[in-house]
């Protein structure tokens, strides 16, 4: 349990890193590292793991830690974008929001009617904090790539929630979710490409001309 909490704590720290950095490569790296950490977690939760759990853990770690960040980095290079220049929510306010969100998640998780064996773990606060971080990134960032990272961190939060149910939900379901997400990232990658070609920019604010 302590090892798991340590990993979750690290993941929560990476949330703040993602919130606080303006350079896209570091956001992507934070997301990738978080993905790898999440991939390891099932191994700590399942005490008598077989080859399936190992396979899923490896697949998660590779998918979240290598494949998707790789795709994002390719998109970033193709679009010649390195930095988030003028976000809706600045980096310091984002960090404050993230910190506040983390504290609030810890507070809320205490008042939730949880099972006794989950009361001590950081799974629920970690999940809530990651989802909030994802939301802050989605709302506060302008570039499509940082928004994709927001989605990824948001999904990581959902994944953490999913770990609560690891006893009753087969990991294969989680693997399916991951597959969905990978396909989603592909689609977003294509859209990013199209946005880039149509608007000569990855600024999602320019999408408002499409509203009617």
């Amino acid at each position: 349990m302590r090892d798991l909490n340590l990993l979750i704590g690290l993941a929560m720290g990476l949330n703040l890193v993602a919130l606080g950095s303006s350079r896209l490569p570091s956001i992507i790296r934070a997301t990738a590292l978080q993905g790898v950490l999440l991939g390891i977690m099932p191994l700590l939760l399942e005490h008598d793991f077989g080859w399936q759990v190992v396979a899923v853990a490896v697949a998660t770690a590779i998918g979240k830690g290598v494949v998707i960040p790789g795709l994002l980095q390719r998109a970033m290079r193709a679009a010649h974008i390195e930095r988030e220049v003028e976000p809706f929510i600045g980096f310091v306010p984002s960090l404050l929001l993230g910190a506040f969100g983390t504290i609030a998640a810890l507070a809320v998780a205490r008042s939730l009617p949880l099972l006794p064996e989950h009361a001590k773990s950081l799974l629920v606060p970690g999940a809530l904090a990651s989802m909030l971080t994802g939301f802050v990134l989605l709302i506060g960032r302008v570039k499509a790539i940082s928004q994709v990272c927001g989605y990824l961190i948001f999904e990581n939060g959902i994944y953490l929630f999913g770990l609560l149910l690891i006893g009753s939900t087969p990991l294969l379901v989680e693997a399916g979710v991951l597959l969905d997400l990978t396909v989603g990232i592909f689609v977003i990658g294509i859209i990013v490409d199209r946005i880039q070609r149509a608007f000569d920019s990855l600024d999602t604010r320019k999408l408002t001309v499409l509203r009617e």
Binding site: F88, S111, P113, F135, L138, I139, G140, R141, V142, Q147, T204, R205, L207, T208, V209, L210, R211
Partner: protein, 658 residues
Amino acid sequence: MWNERPVRRVNTGWLVLVAVCCLLGGIAAARAATRAWLALTLTGVAAGLAAAARVLIGAGAWEWTSAMRVGGETLHLRLDSISAMFLALLCVIAGAGAVYSSAYWTDAMHPRSAGAGRRWWNVLVLSIVVVLLASNGVHFLLGWEAFTISAYFLITLDRDNPDVRRAGWLYLAVSHVAVLLLFTFFALLAVRTGTWDLGPMQERAELAPLFWLMLVGFGIKAGVFPLHVWLPSAHANAPSHVSAMLSGVALKIGVYGLVRFAGWLPTPPEAGWVVATLGVTSAVLGVAFALGQHDIKRLLAYHSVENVGIILIGLGFGMVATAQGYPAWGRLALIGGLLHVWNHGLFKGLLFLGAGSVLHATGTREMSRLGGLWRRMPWTTALFALGAVAICGLPPLNGFVSEWLVFLGLFGAVLSRGSSVWMAIPAAILLALTGALALACFVKVCGVVFLGAPRSETAARAHESGLAMRLPMLGLAGGCVAIGVAPLLVWPALSRAVGTWHGGWMDAAEPAPLMMLGAVQTGVLVIGGAVAWMLWRRVRAVGCVTAPTWDCGYALPTARMQYTAGSFAGIVTEWFAFILRPVLHMERPEGLAPQSASHWQHTPETVLERAVEPLGALVLQGAVAARRLQHGRVQAYLVYLLIGVALLAAVVLSGVSP
């Protein structure tokens, strides 16, 4: 007794079938074969009238259920004496209007819209037949919607005119508010009873609150006072035969809905008072607004509001009497109201056709441009005057009979010394006031339009309309006279309708004064006719001397020096200025040699302009403000999402934790 005659029930059904088939055939023939359309339509309405008459003279209600499903519901038709009353009125006005339109809205004059007008006419008649016969909520609503839409197309036949388009749009919008309310009403009814089938369900007391929904829904259609906003402009701008149909029948279908469901469903205890109050309000304010109008058809439209008010007074007191258990005067009030449905259909149809005849001859509805038409249009003048006498509720015509029955009901309520006294006394006084104001209003119309000297070139060159336009007016006038001099003839039918409405009120003889009333009315008619004939002979024998009117030493009298419609009604409209809010523009002559002066007065659509339009503007503002939420920024949409989820979480958490 009528009831003892052996009758085969199937006959009514065959007549209905013939009517429907002929009207459908008329739709097919409307575009190209005008004469075939007229023949089919007349046959159809004659068959419909015969079916209604069979039910009304006591052949029993006709009910037909088929295994065929329309819209997921089995077809269930019912023609009882209440729907037969309205069906009879529909057939009379539809026939008269069809003949009238064949000369009034011809292919030669309106090549683009005449064929469409004939077709929509039949659609309108058919859909009203469906509304009257349907005994299932779904079919009622289907018929109702078809009725609303076809009336819209008839109103906007002349849609090159922007006024007509605006009137049609207002009608369509307001009507759909009514449709929406009726949808809610029937849906709630179906949910609570478990079936769309309609029928008497007096014992289900929990259905009573639905009455209010229905009252507003049907009230909009009937043109009850604060809900009448669509009515004046639609009636004024529609072709005249359509106005006659709208005013004579379409409004009455709203009344039909009220009567029908007030009879079938339980009503809240205060419903009768509300209906009666609405009736009194409509009657008084309808006639007050009518007095302020300068457009002859708009004026007639406001009189429709007034007459629907009179009908609702009868219905309202009938409902009060049901609730309090006074069958004697309740029957009289309700019968008066129902008879007024017929009467108003007849004389208002006549008046609108007469106004159409004036419009046809002069091309204007503006009374200040008419005048002196009786010389050029004696038939129209005589028939319009007859309609005016009838609508003012003067003996010896039909308006007097129905208003008198309503009065008898009100007096009965006063004499019963129950709690209804406090409503009945003011209602009687205000009803009398309404009659007096209506008389003033029609003196104004007849005086300004038909008497005096022509105020414009077009009025001076007016011509009498042809036989096809005079015949329907003569027929309707004949109906007015017949009900006026022989009210006993219609009593059994009305008595049956009231018996259907309230089972306990079936067997009662006609009130003794009715026989006497018929005799007195006949006497008045005969004596009046004789006096008029003698005077006419005297005038013919002596001969007329033509001299300038009002030649009191002034050398150059012109037609503009006559009383105008506004100046005639000025005193009365000032009494009601608090609600009419007339707009006055006056430029007084000043100085020794005044150059210009003008006086212009206009009565606005107060309810529409002061209440409905500000409300609409407010809704529009709200909508525009809400539209700012949709700006296309993904980030902000995500904020909405987050706020929504947070609120949901708050609701759930606050609900879960004790």
